[in-house]
Each structure stands twice: as C-alpha cells, then as structure tokens.
C-alpha cells in the first residue's frame, strides 16, 4: 500500500458574514503517494477552499491536515511559506508566471528560493521544460508563449522544487481542447515517471476522465470517492 501523503481529519472552514458559509464541512480525506486525484463539484461546492487549505494558503476553523508527519494547521505564516516551498507545488488557473522572467528562470526561481546551486537549477529547469514539451522555448518570456505553453511552464515550476504533491486549481479552465489534452498527458506522464502526486480541483470532464481517483464534493462535504 502506498504511503499517505496527506491526511485530513474533521476539516471545517466557515466564512463568517451576515450568513456564515460552511465552505468545508467536516472533511476526512487521505491522499496517497502517486495518486492522480480530481476534486470535482459545482462552483461554490468548496473544492477550491479545500485545495487552499491543503496548500496551507488558508487556515481551517477546526480539523487537522497532516502532511509528511506535520500538522500544517499549527504552523506560523513563515513556517507555512517554507513548508509550501519545500513540500507543495502549485498550478493556478491563470498560469501566473512571473512576466519578467524567461521560462527557464520561472522554473528555476523556486529552486533559487531553496538556495540550490545554479548548475542544479539550470539542469533541472531544462530537464522539466523538456519533459513538458518546451525544449527550445527556454528563453521565451511568458508573454511570448501561448496559454497552453504557459500552463506547461507552470507545471514545470510546480515540480521544480521536488514537492510531495502538486495542487492544481482548474488548470485547464483557460485552455483549448488540444492544449488541455497535451497538458493532461504531460501530467500523467510525470505522475507515472516521477510518481508525483497530483490533486486537481476541477469541473472539467476531460480532467475528471483522466483522473485515477475522483472525489465528489458538494456543500463542503465529500459525497463520492471513486478510484479507477
């Protein structure tokens, strides 16, 4: 049996307001190493909130999130930032690359934050860009790449730090069919080759179709959990 990468227990997140919203309402979830999991559900069901909580970008009202034997809900802001740097890769919906840096620099930037040597940074950046099919585009800046290419750079960046898992929030929302299928192929390949754990928040059926495990969420609760 694969080792658990994430263990979520009794997670609650309530957004206070005139009418409090229970975005995450008592979720228990275990994600194992090498999983390719999609969190599916309609808009507002709580999947992005769950992803943010898993990524340590948001704090729950109660419950625990144990990653690599560390309960991240008890970490300070700086500890969380360092934890994300070394354990978690992010792929955002809108690519969100640093516009003034080239593809190589965007990928190697996270390794720079990890204080890795220049040689190591360059080697891994080239290796990852090649893996996502962007060999020859290393010196291009985000503005010179298509949306699909930018998202592939974002995937390479997410993997650059050698994280425990990658969180991807609607990674295909801005991509056309061809770019989507290419991106999914690349991520599946990386999942297979590097045994990298991917967790998507999506309502894109193309992603859900490729996922090995699909967790259905509705009103902040897990309503289905199927593995292929």
């Amino acid at each position: 049996m694969s080792k658990a990468v994430i263990e979520v227990k009794g997670l609650h997140k309530i957004y206070e307001g005139a009418v409090p919203v229970k975005a995450v309402n008592g979720i228990d979830l275990v994600i194992s190493e090498g999983e390719f999991t999609a969190l599916k559900g309609p808009s507002g069901c709580g999947k992005t909130t769950l992803l943010n909580l898993l990524g340590g970008l948001d704090q729950p009202n109660s419950g625990s999130i144990i990653i690599d034997d560390t309960d991240i809900t008890g970490l300070s802001d700086n500890e969380l930032i360092d934890f994300r740097l070394h354990h978690i890769g992010f792929v955002f919906q809108a690519y969100n690359l640093i516009p003034v840096l080239s593809a190589t620099e965007n990928v190697s930037f996270i390794m720079l934050l990890q204080n890795r040597s220049k040689d190591e940074r360059m080697e891994r950046a080239h290796q990852l860009l090649e893996a996502v099919g962007l060999a020859g585009k290393e010196d291009k800046r985000p503005g010179e790449l298509s949306g699909g290419q930018q998202q592939r750079v974002a995937v390479a960046r997410a993997l650059a730090s050698k994280p425990k898992f990658v969180l991807a929030d609607e990674p295909t929302a801005n991509l056309d069919s061809e770019s989507t299928s290419k991106l999914l192929e690349i991520m599946l390949q990386l999942n297979k080759q590097e045994n990298m754990t991917f967790i998507f928040a999506t309502h894109d059926n193309r992603v859900i179709a490729k996922a090995k495990r699909v967790v259905g969420i509705s009103d902040g609760r897990i309503v289905s959990d199927t593995s292929k």
Partner: protein, 403 residues
C-alpha cells in the same frame, strides 16, 4: 534578487520613468532653490564682509560695543607682529572708523567716516573698481572719496568741499574741511548711502588719533579658513585686544539669513510634500498592478520579507538613480548662474536693497546642497516605498491570486 528587481523596473517603463522623472525634477528644483538662497548669501557675505569689512577684525577690547575712539588701538605701543606672523594671515589693515556730521551749503547729514590706506586695503576699498568719477587717494593726500548716495544727497561734484564736525579721541572736537576727490559706488547699498573715505593720516589728525586705529582688519590668505584662523589668533593675541568674527560683528546678517533660509525651507517642504504624493502614487499603482503576482510568489514559497526586499530594491534603484541623475543634471545650472547671476529689477531689487544686499541672484556650487537634497528625497522615496512593504506583509495570498 537584484536581477528580478532590475527586470521589474523595466516591465512598466512608463511608471519607472515617471518615478525617476519625479525624483529628478524634485532634486533639481530643491537644489536650485537652495543654491540660489545660499549662493546669494555667500556672495553677499563675500561682497560685504570679505571685500569690505573682513571676516576677522582686531579691536581694542570694548570698542565694538561702545564704538568710541577712546577704545582705539595705539599702534606705537601695541606689538601686532605675533598676529601678523600667524600662518594664513596675509596682513593687518589699520582703519580709523568714526561718525561725523557733514555740511554742505544748507544740507547736513550724518556719515560713516573711514580712514584708510587704499594701497593696503581689502579689494572693496581699493577704490579703483568702484570709482564713478575722480580719483583715489594716497597716504599723504588730503582729498576724500564719498559714496554716490552722499554726492546725490548734497548735490556735490568733484572739487566741492565738505565740512566735518564730530567728536575725537578723549572728547576732543573733530573738525575738518576736505575737497571731494572722487565719488564711488559701493557694492553695499547701505555704505553707498553714507560712507566717506579719507586717507588714514587725515582721519587720525582730524579725530586727534595720531598713530591710532579703531580696527585692524585681518586680510586672510587665499584658501585659509577664517574660523580656524580665528581660534589661532585668539590664542596668539593678548589681553587688551579682541578678535571678532564677522558673525559677531554683524549678527543682524545672520538673523536675516536665518529668516530667509526658514522661508526657503517652507518652499522646499511643500516640494517634498508634493513629491511624496507623486512617489506614493507610483508605488500604489505598482502594488495594485502586481497584487496577483505578490500572491503567487508568497503562495509558491517566497517569504514576505524576501518579496518586500525585492520590491524595496526596485524602488531604491529607481529613486537612487533619479536622485543621482538630478544631482548631476543640476550641477551645470548651478555653475552657470554662479558666473552669470540674474540681475533683479523693480520692486524686487528695491526689496533686496532694503536689506543692504546686492540685487543679484547667484547660485552656490557647493555639492553638499546637492547631496543633502538628494539624500532627503531618497529617504522620502524609501519611506514611501514602505507602503509596498506594508502591503506585502499583510497580503492574503488567496485574495491576491484572485485579484
């Protein structure tokens, strides 16, 4: 980090150019404003003090307070060699200064009478540069040179005689009649209204002060610092004499300078206030433009302090660049107006003359002014940039990524 900061500077050229231009403009404006203020004063001090009164004067103790010939220096019994031999002292120039009532026809007017020897005097009293008509006098002459204002008041010409009536040494009556040998325009407007210059020997005779002087002006060698010299002279002098610096002799000039400088400071403060808002505007724009990016960077693992450092670095490069450029660009302007002063006219001229100053606007080329304002504006820029730091330290990465 430096590379990232440098590239960020050029991602929005317009904003960067506005920031640099605002800093350059502010430095130039502030430096010009202060340069003119300080330059005018420097020139005034040089003209009035350096060329006429001397930066240092030696008096018999008590003379400056009482302004009495009874407190004059006996040149025969006073050994001034120890003072003259101090390094940096070129020579000591004896003067006999007093007041006298002048008569010509039915007109009378009080005047400052200065007995001098033009051959050994400071440049302002060597006369050849300031004579409008007539000639200067030598040691043994018996003519006088009067200021243009007095000539106009008495409506006198060369060859006319002025009568003097005053009080001499130990209460003796001081009478005299001297023909006008020259009419001079003094650079100091106040002196130009009331000065009579006569040969030192004649003044000593008229005031019953043979071999006496009220003042020994210290002529300083080029490059010597009068403040340093003052200290040395004070140590070299003896009890009966006192060394006075021009600031002690003319405190009203210092007061006027301080009042004027305070006014200038208000203008500069307003300028700083404006530039603060311009720079704050560019920083707020930058923060708004890059809110999402900040959120991403914090999300992927960049510490807020590191991100704040990069952002500060960007602003520091921009502001420092602007400040250095401003300091450099303004330098030729300072030099130009130092040697090509602006001539004032009309009411402004009259207003300045009321303060006994030459109505010309000079600049100073002292780099300390550039440096001071460059540093102040740089500090303002850094302070304003703290807005970006504050924003980064409190940003919510989720909200920023969504923005």
């Amino acid at each position: 980090m430096l590379k990232l900061a440098w590239r960020n500077i050029w991602r929005n050229k317009g904003r960067s150019i506005i920031t640099i231009a605002a800093v350059i403009f502010c430095v130039i404006f502030a430096v010009i404003l202060r340069s003119f203020q300080v330059g005018v004063w420097e020139n005034m001090i040089h003209e009035i003090v350096g060329n006429n009164f001397g930066y240092l004067q030696v008096h018999q103790e008590g003379f400056w307070g009482e302004q009495s010939l009874d407190c004059s220096i006996d040149l025969l019994s006073t050994d001034v060699n120890p003072l003259e031999s101090v390094e940096g002292v070129d020579r000591l120039i004896p003067r006999l200064e007093s007041f006298s009532l002048l008569y010509h026809g039915s007109n009378t007017k009080g005047a400052l009478v200065m007995g001098i020897n033009p051959a050994t005097e400071l440049p302002g009293l060597q006369l050849h540069d300031v004579l409008l008509e007539g000639r200067s006098f030598s040691y043994n002459d018996s003519i006088i040179v009067i200021s243009e204002g007095l000539a106009q008041y008495f409506k006198v010409e060369l060859g006319d005689t002025l009568l003097f009536m005053g009080q001499g040494f130990h209460g003796a009556a001081a009478y005299g009649a001297f023909p006008i040998g020259g009419i001079a325009r003094m650079t100091n407007p106040e002196l130009n209204k009331q000065l009579v210059l006569m040969p030192l020997k004649q003044a000593q005779y008229m005031y019953n002060c043979e071999n006496r002087a009220t003042t020994l002006v210290v002529a300083i060698e080029d490059g010597a610092d009068y403040t340093v010299l003052s200290e040395v002279l004070k140590k070299a002098t003896f009890e009966a004499l006192e060394i006075l610096e021009w600031k002690e002799l003319f405190p009203e000039i210092i007061q006027t300078i301080e009042v004027d400088m305070a006014g200038g400071r208000i203008f500069v403060m307003i300028l700083y206030f404006i530039i603060s808002f311009v720079l704050l505007g560019t920083v707020i724009t930058m923060v708004a433009e890059r809110q999402r990016e900040f959120g991403i960077l914090v999300s992927i693992g960049m510490r807020r302090s590191t991100l704040a450092l990069v952002t500060m670095l960007e602003n520091i490069i921009l502001i420092m660049g602007g400040a250095i450029l401003g300091m450099a660009v303004v330098k030729p302007i300072q030099f130009y107006f130092k040697y090509n002063p602006i001539d004032l006219s009309g009411q402004m001229k009259e207003a300045i003359e009321q303060y006994n100053f030459e109505p010309k606007l000079y600049t100073t080329t002292a780099f300390i002014i550039n440096l001071n304002h460059g540093i102040i504006i740089f500090c303002i820029g850094v302070l304003v940039s703290l807005y970006a730091v504050w924003n980064i330290m409190k940003l919510n990465p989720i909200e920023s990524v969504r923005s």
